[in-house]
């Protein structure tokens, strides 16, 4: 376990190789996106539409979704590393490949959490956002969300392997679909045109949107956790089996 913690630590340091100043433009853009997002939701909720959520819940939903965006929809570097040859290098190390991938991904979350999420969490009361979770089950849900995110990411990486490194295309389509279907842009329960009911049971709905719904108290934890657990049980074995079978098909431009 210590080896993976050390790997995560190294990944965190690697992200900060250029210094804290190097990360500042991205942090600045995130802050400049989060604050208008909060006020956009205030303007939207001020219309008085009855949607089963209070303004406070909606602002919390949007804010927590932005602060924990890396964990709400997990994206590893597996697909990008495939074409760069970095994924191949992982096989030469005395650690499991997927373990290294997860550790490196988690390590890379740390600078963002420290430089963006934590300061904005402390400042959020100034914008009228309450960051107290409605239920302690949020922590369990977050863990299941992250776990499911990794499983889905492995499946997309296997798709990249199968399609001979069309990872840029897959990434674009994936980001587009997951953004809407995961409920991180707009809660799944608020999707119009009858999409709310039909999209409730698809696996992406058990990602960030599910965790956020428990955090804000707009959904009962039992049902949400059950759905997340089911999708974890279904997708993890599939991900591991398909990844094992896909390894022989890896093609890389570099090494």
């Amino acid at each position: 376990m210590f080896k993976y913690i050390k790997t995560a630590h190294m990944a965190c340091l690697e992200k900060m190789n250029g210094g804290v100043l190097y990360l500042m433009p991205d942090i600045f853009i995130k802050i400049c996106t989060l604050i208008p997002l909060i006020y956009m939701w205030k303007a939207v909720m001020a219309s008085g539409a009855d949607i089963g959520m209070s303004m406070e819940q909606m602002l919390t939903y949007a804010c927590v979704g932005a602060l924990l965006s890396d964990m709400m929809v997990v994206r590893t570097q597996a697909s990008g590393w495939l074409s760069e040859g970095v994924l191949m290098k992982l096989y030469g190390r005395p650690l499991s490949v997927l373990g290294q991938l997860f550790a490196q991904t988690a390590g890379r979350w740390m600078p963002n959490l420290a430089l963006f999420s934590l300061p904005m969490a402390l400042l959020s009361p100034l914008f009228g956002v309450n960051l107290r979770p409605a239920s302690p089950w949020f922590v369990v849900s977050l863990f299941l969300c992250i776990s499911l995110g990794f499983a889905i990411d492995i499946l997309f990486a296997c798709l990249s392997i199968k399609l001979r490194n069309m990872n840029w295309l897959i990434d674009r389509i994936r980001a587009a679909i997951v953004a809407i279907l995961s409920g991180t842009v707009i809660p799944v329960s608020l999707l119009p045109l009858g999409l709310a009911e039909s999209m409730k049971y698809q696996p992406f709905a058990s990602l960030g949107g599910a965790t956020l719904s428990i955090f804000t108290g707009i959904a009962e934890p039992a049902g949400v956790l059950r759905m997340q657990a089911v999708w974890n049980i279904v997708l993890w074995p599939a991900a591991l089996i398909i990844f094992k079978k896909s390894q022989e098909g890896m093609v890389s431009y570099r090494g």
């Binding site: 853009i29 303007a43 001020a46 953004a179």
Partner: protein, 263 residues
Amino acid sequence: MDLLWLLRDTKYAIAAMTADMISNISVVSGVWLIALRFGGIGGMSVDEVLFMMSYSTLVTGLFILFGSGNNIHISRIIGRGQLEHMFMQPNSLKVQLITGGFVPFTGGGNLAVGCILLVISIARLHLRVTPWWILRLIAHLAATMVIIVARSYLVATASFYAPVEAEEISTTAIEGTWQLSTFPLSGMPAFIQVPLLTILPEGLMAWFPALCLLGKPPLNLTEYYPFAYALALALAAKYFFRKGLNYYVTKGSNRYVPYGFRR
């Protein structure tokens, strides 16, 4: 060359076009779905938000149509030492940068989607489309593109001095703020609207021009404000980019590799 790619690798080219279209539709549909669910945003009706999203899609379409060769993400060319190779070509740098990213066949997908959304929103809004209105639309689109390109070139000046650190600064300036540019600023307080029309011009990417074309220029500003802003930003970008280029041709770059153009 773009046509050759489409003809020789049709499957991948069509997949790339589809991915671009789906990606852009997803970015704008998030805001539109919110507007649809809540009956509008900040005083803008659902159809007005759709019009704004169609404008945003048109801008994306133009960007992909003319900027697919990193000629707008200019910091990548500078940071990777690829400028040296452009100096060696028998075409001026200006001509190469203007034409290098033109992909009319594979890059026209988003523009087509934007035109379709525009027609739909115009029909739903019962807008009176005259030749003068079309000219105004083209002028606003041109101004928006000038703002995007000028800002990219302005921040890319840093890559002349710090090619490694600033290689992706154009990406941050363009793509990092793309989602913010799809937010309708109507109903937001002035301390949000004003900075997004001055310091970070995301409000000028879709919201402000869309409202001008709908006949409702916001904040009592003149419809010509985006043009004035584009001109000022372009002049600033020209000045600083030229300064950086002069520094570059004097000092050179340690990023140049003679055996290829890609790091």
